[in-house]
């Protein structure tokens, strides 16, 4: 009897589950293939699957081409998905411009307000768009810089002035640094081959080098590591992968975790039927600290014990 009851209960649960999480179509627009962006996509898919939503993904990648980027939106309109997942700013902007009748969920967008995607972070406009920002927590980055180089007065930053996100990040860095009494010296680059020279130009003018989540600068991180090792300048990064490649430390967004959290937002829209306009923009609170003790030694820095114990990963 008990077994029968249990079976019935289990069946009911299963049925409830099937009712709650049916089968859905999600069309993805992504501007380029890039480990961080791919990790976010994977996170969304994993979370939706783990929560029992059966989702078919149509993935479109524009290969960095803006013309293709907007064609993808038209492709997606024809697919009539239940949700559009826009990874990174250009895809989200094109989707928001063209699609009004399907929920759009963005992720990996640094500044959704200045990108015009939402009116404000509370999403008070009430449209069909919401999502997650990957904005680097600059106050924490400045704190980390001071933790590693307590006597620093000037932060040298390398970035591409053509990357919208980088410009916003450097502005925010300047603001947060000023609060801590620090000055920011920028060196801009147009392509990754400029990194070497840009870091050299900062030698003598900066006490510590910071590389934000700038695709161009990060792609040539090794040349920054080389200059910093030669001149014993501490190098701090904004993404944890750069720590494996030779930066001293980074406290950063984990893009896969970000994908998981975006997946929760997708679940609310798809399964629970929440309107995107009722969902504020979310940020990832759960950050990871990675440190590289070997790089620290090479750049003449002794990492505080507390920093090492706090780290989620220590590269030796």
């Amino acid at each position: 009897m008990t077994r029968l009851l249990l079976t019935v209960a289990a069946l009911c649960l299963l049925a409830a589950n099937a009712l709650a999480a049916g089968s859905y179509t999600v069309s993805v627009t992504q501007i380029v293939e890039h480990p961080a962006l791919d990790a976010m996509r994977q996170g969304v898919a994993d979370r939706l699957r783990d929560r029992g939503a059966e989702v078919v993904f149509n993935v479109h990648i524009a290969q960095g081409n803006m013309g293709t980027n907007i064609q993808i939106v038209n492709q997606i309109k024809g697919e009539k998905p239940d949700l559009v997942l826009a990874i990174a700013t250009p895809g989200a902007q094109a989707a928001a411009q063209k699609i009004q009748d399907i929920p759009i969920l963005f992720t990996g967008v640094t500044d959704p307000v200045s990108a015009g995607l939402v009116k404000d972070l509370q999403n008070s406009g009430g449209g069909n768009v919401t999502g997650m920002s990957d904005f680097s927590p600059m106050d924490q980055h400045v704190a980390l810089i001071l933790e590693i180089a307590p006597s620093a007065k000037t932060i040298g930053v390398i970035y591409n002035a053509g990357e919208p996100n980088s410009v916003v990040l450097v502005d925010k860095l300047t603001e947060e640094a000023a609060k801590a009494g620090l000055v920011v010296q920028g060196a801009t680059i147009a392509n990754s081959s400029g990194v070497f020279q840009a870091v050299r130009s900062l030698v003598g003018r900066a006490d510590v080098i910071y590389i934000p989540t700038d695709n161009t600068a990060v792609s040539a991180l090794e040349s920054a590591v080389k200059v910093c090792t030669q001149t014993r300048l501490p190098l701090i990064a904004a993404d944890v992968d750069s720590v494996d490649r030779g930066a001293i430390a980074a406290v950063a967004v984990d893009y896969y975790k970000m994908g998981l959290q975006t997946g929760d937002m997708a679940y609310r829209i798809l399964v629970e039927g929440v309107a995107p306009g009722d969902m504020p923009v979310e940020f990832l609170e759960d950050l990871n600290l990675h440190v590289n003790t070997k790089a620290a030694a090479a750049m003449g820095v002794t990492l505080p014990e507390a920093t090492i114990t706090r780290a989620a990963k220590v590269v030796e």
Binding site: G67, I70, Q71, G78, E79, A94, K98, G116
Partner: protein, 302 residues
Amino acid sequence: MTSYALLGAIEQGFAYGLMVVGVYLTFRVLDFPDLTVDGSLPLGASVSAVAITAGHPPVLAVLMASGAGFMAGAVTGVLNTKFRILHLLASILTMIALYSINLRIMGRPNMTLLGQDTVVDWFAAASGLMPHVSTPLLFGLVCVAALAVLVWFLHTELGLAFLATGDNKQMITSQGVNTDTIIIFGVGLSNALVAASGALVAQNQGAADVNMGVGTIIAGLASVIIGETVFGHKTITRALIAALLGSILYRVAIALALGMRLGDFAITPSDLNLITALLVVIALVMPQIKARTKRIMAGRVK
């Protein structure tokens, strides 16, 4: 392919149509390979975005964009004719300079037009059609009007001198025409069209972005070549129409590649560039294969 994707491809084909016609004018008519376009397309987008944000009517914004494009092209023309810098290099110099200039114009790398009135919204409201129908229609009308003016112009005396400049510089110089002026004007005109195209593209996609010009010349050349192969280029009118239709075919081909689903292995989104390159190679090789088969057939008949 869904109707949205097809209409979308036509829309993109027309949006970039003015750019392709511009590329045709320099590449085929003036015999001037012009890479300025990678910079003048975002220039047009930037100028129109700033103009619209400042409250100017979107149509005026497109005209202002083409004016800026004309100046950019004229700079390339001057560098080439007056300072004797190789055309390819002259255009690369203008292109990289435009990157900084575009950043200056916008004051930032990406300027949103979401929520602003654009030509696209204006026409959708005026025509009362659905946006996915009205937009290709609007861009198509713009292209047809531009082509009509261009065809008229190329049959004027100045236009004929323009056509002759690329064909036979010596002959036209001996007729007392200053080819330098023609080249400066021609490259300017071409880039005016490209910048107007950039303005339309930005207003259509909801943002001007400093990186949106990357690959413009490739798309332009591919469209010109596909158009020539498929539609022929016997007269200048036919060649211009072929360039415009080539732009549409190119975008339809990309739409097909985007929608391709061939089971589990199959083609992934990352193969898109490879497929695009293959399509252009096919377009380039087809006429040669046709000619060769013709020769072989003729040989057999003998």
